[in-house]
Subunit: 205 residues, 2 copies
DNA sequence: ATACATTTATAACAGCGTTATCTCGATAGT
DNA sequence: ACTATCGAGATAACGCTGTTATAAATGTAT
């Protein structure tokens, strides 16, 4: 009942992949539709029927990024040593963010753009938020494990989880936003920092 | 020895103020030179002789913002109750960031732009960094006070200060980046969070 | 065979940051 | 007093951007 599609889902995926690479190497501002279309042998209008707008294309990249990040969190093995498992989650978090700093930044807050312009992207059941929730639930499970084993105290899991997330995010986002590190021994400093975040919710002895 | 300047430092300041307002209300992307120039009765070239580029204009806004933020930190009174003083610093931090979320975001990392594009802005002695250092030194003083009074433990001041800063920044930046709050009782949750950050470096009993 | 719906391409529109060109005007050297 | 010089600013252009109006293409339904 219409002209047959010239570009399938694979083209769509390739566009997303290319845009993500572009963001990683040159930032969101460097994403431009005409060169992208030329590279994939289509017109910019084709991109518009596939995504709707440049913003929607970038939002698609964000969605894929959230997926990649969530998968990297979920693939951290559970050994049974609940403290080690929690710390390993924090290491994977930092590793992913420092590998794709530009993606991490737009994943969290959509970069320099005013966040309340597209509030529907942050709705409780927007695709992006559902994917993000999976990652934070992985964290909550490890936190609950630690609480069960007496590593963390008798506080609400959600409160401890959100706190540890905020703490990790704070450190990592500073690292991701700055060209030079805080110190030379950034890895060791991060280890000590994570331990302090655990101490913050230690059981009262 | 040249044509007399038509626009003085007051015009320059007005341009910075206007640009800051624009960023606050519409994000960095919404800053446009032609409307700005028209509003101030000058040409875009005049802006170029004053600042050099759109980027430099925004960097000037960032510099002023860092100044405003630093002043808001320094104006927090010192009562002598070192724990209260530290917490009040954290409240002022959050208040400023939530009042100007868009400014806070570009202050920390320059928004969606790839951060390593202008590394000279983050040099140890760039104006922006010098201003930022004043704020963090205010924090370090309060941390040192707490350590002297046995509120915080016998760890390096710099390590405790950086940790608390990262922690506060993490929480606040999440709040600033999202249109809706984490919970309804955001103020109370932040209070408990700050207390956890202090607990993280409590003296070993 | 005709009408309709939808994908895609071409080309245009309006806007952007930046810059080449030129004018203006005050000072410095003669 | 005259001229050269040099920087500030205006005008207009360049090349780029996201988006969209228009039209061509190509299926299905009638």
């Amino acid at each position: 009942m219409a002209r047959p599609r010239k570009f399938d889902d694979e083209t769509r995926a390739a566009l997303i992949r290319d845009t993500a690479d572009q963001i990683v190497s040159g930032g969101v501002e460097s994403v431009s539709l005409r060169p992208l279309a030329a590279k994939h042998g289509c017109s910019t209008t084709a991109i518009y029927t596939m995504f709707g707008s440049r913003d929607a294309l970038i939002e698609a990249v964000v969605y894929e990024s959230v997926g990649s990040f969530t998968r990297s969190q979920e693939s951290v093995p559970v050994t049974g040593d609940s403290l080690s498992d929690l710390l390993e989650l924090g290491r994977a978090y930092r590793r992913w963010a420092l590998k794709y700093p530009a993606l991490y930044v737009i994943m969290i807050g959509r970069g320099g753009k005013r966040p309340d312009i597209n509030p529907e992207d942050f709705t409780e059941d927007s695709p992006r938020m559902i994917a993000a929730k999976k990652a934070i639930e992985t964290l909550f499970r490890r936190v609950a494990d630690c609480a069960a084993n007496g590593i963390l105290g008798d506080y609400p899991i959600e409160e401890m989880g959100n706190s540890i997330w905020a703490g990790v995010h704070g450190w990592v986002s500073i690292e991701a936003a700055r060209p030079v590190m805080i110190g030379q021994d950034a890895d060791a400093a991060y280890e000590r920092y994570m331990q302090s975040l655990v101490r913050a919710w230690a059981p009262v002895t």
